[in-house]
């Protein structure tokens, strides 16, 4: 039976690794460069899928893996961040205030506007940030997965039947010349 690469295992591993890195102080700052760590999570997921599959992985599978890795990375990142904050003795309220001040420093009107954000409290804001990160990390995870598939998958894509011909796809979605068996992953 052909291996197809375990999507859940690949996504969990990538999500945990890059989620942890995202929560580590200074290292997590790499996410400030267009979520580069989350792009890496998606790319690593694709790499693991490629290595664990005997047949070329599809872009859909890579995208799904990247999305899953991005979603998994969010709670891992937040737990890691909290853990480091406690270990390092940080003041979460002070950091929250600093983040708000930086975001609104350019305008007194903006500072007044962000008073509403302060009033919501750290806990609720972290919940909202978590929701926002799930959305953003999902998107960048998909992007990373697609880029990873484009970079790491060197085997020819599986031929697919032309729609409307009435020819159903074979069970394993691969049919080589004269119906031969699929190629074995050379790696």
């Amino acid at each position: 039976m052909q291996r197809r690469g375990n999507l859940l295992t690949s996504s969990l591993a990538s999500g945990f690794i890059f989620g942890f890195l995202s929560g580590v102080p200074f290292v997590g700052a790499l996410n400030c460069a267009c979520c580069s760590l989350i792009l890496g999570a998606g790319a690593l997921t694709s790499y693991l899928l490629v290595k664990g599959s005997d047949v070329p992985i599809s872009f859909g599978r890579a995208a799904a893996g990247g999305l899953l890795a991005g979603v998994i990375a969010v709670p891992v990142m937040m737990v890691t961040w909290f853990a480091f904050a406690i270990i390092m003795g940080g003041d979460l309220d002070a950091e929250f205030e600093q983040a708000i001040e930086q975001a609104s420093a350019y305008s007194p009107e903006a500072q007044q506007a962000t008073q509403m954000v302060r009033d919501l409290g750290v806990g609720f804001i972290m919940f909202l940030v978590g929701i926002l990160c799930v959305v953003l990390y999902s998107i960048f995870g998909v992007v990373g997965g697609l880029l990873g598939r484009a970079v790491f998958e060197r085997r020819p894509a599986q031929p697919v039947p032309v729609p409307g011909t009435g020819t159903p796809p074979p069970p394993d979605r691969w049919q080589g010349p004269e119906g031969g068996s699929p190629p074995v992953n050379p790696s």
Binding site: A29, C32, C34, F59, T114, V143, L147, P161, P163
Partner: protein, 167 residues
């Protein structure tokens, strides 16, 4: 038998261009909103981009005295991605290279940014905001060029999946 809504591959580049245009619009929104008398909305748009960018004012372009949503490098990246999607919409043949050598294209696109990072960190060249934007733009062009064929292939795969009802 296709899923409910999957764009045809030929529509992928235009749709991506629209999404990228929306993102670029959000990037320049804070100065425009602040200038129109909506500082609260401007601040909220900037906060939305906070997980994606450090937003350090000294490394960010300003318009009407107000910083954009993201730093100069990120602005360049998003602009480069948008230009790549626009180029794909008009069928530029340069994307053929991105289809076949995605790794090499991405590496070449990232090289200027890495070079600038090394040279500016070592003090050999000034860490100019414009240079950050230009190198970010090159990175965005390469990334966008690789993303278009990837999304086209994804839509083609999704379009050929049988529907859950078997119809």
């Amino acid at each position: 038998m296709s899923t409910t809504f999957v764009p045809a591959p030929r529509l992928v580049a235009p749709l991506l261009s629209l999404l990228a245009a929306a993102a670029c619009a959000l990037i320049i929104a804070p100065p425009l909103l602040a200038g129109a008398g909506h500082p609260g909305e401007a601040a909220l748009v900037r906060l939305t981009f906070a997980p994606l960018c450090h937003q350090i004012p000294e490394r960010t372009f300003h318009m009407l005295g107000v910083p954009l949503s993201v730093c100069a490098r990120c602005t360049g990246v998003y602009a480069g991605v948008f230009l790549a999607f626009i180029a794909a919409t008009f069928g530029m043949n340069a994307l053929v290279l991105a289809r076949r050598r995605a790794g090499a294209v991405l590496a070449a696109a990232a090289a200027p940014s890495l070079l600038l990072l090394i040279l500016s960190a070592s003090g050999l060249i000034p860490d100019a905001v414009v240079l950050r934007a230009v190198t970010g733009g090159i990175l965005g062009l390469g990334t966008g060029a690789c993303l278009v064929p990837a999304f086209e292939a994804l839509c083609a795969e999704l379009a050929l999946k049988p529907s859950p009802t078997g119809g």
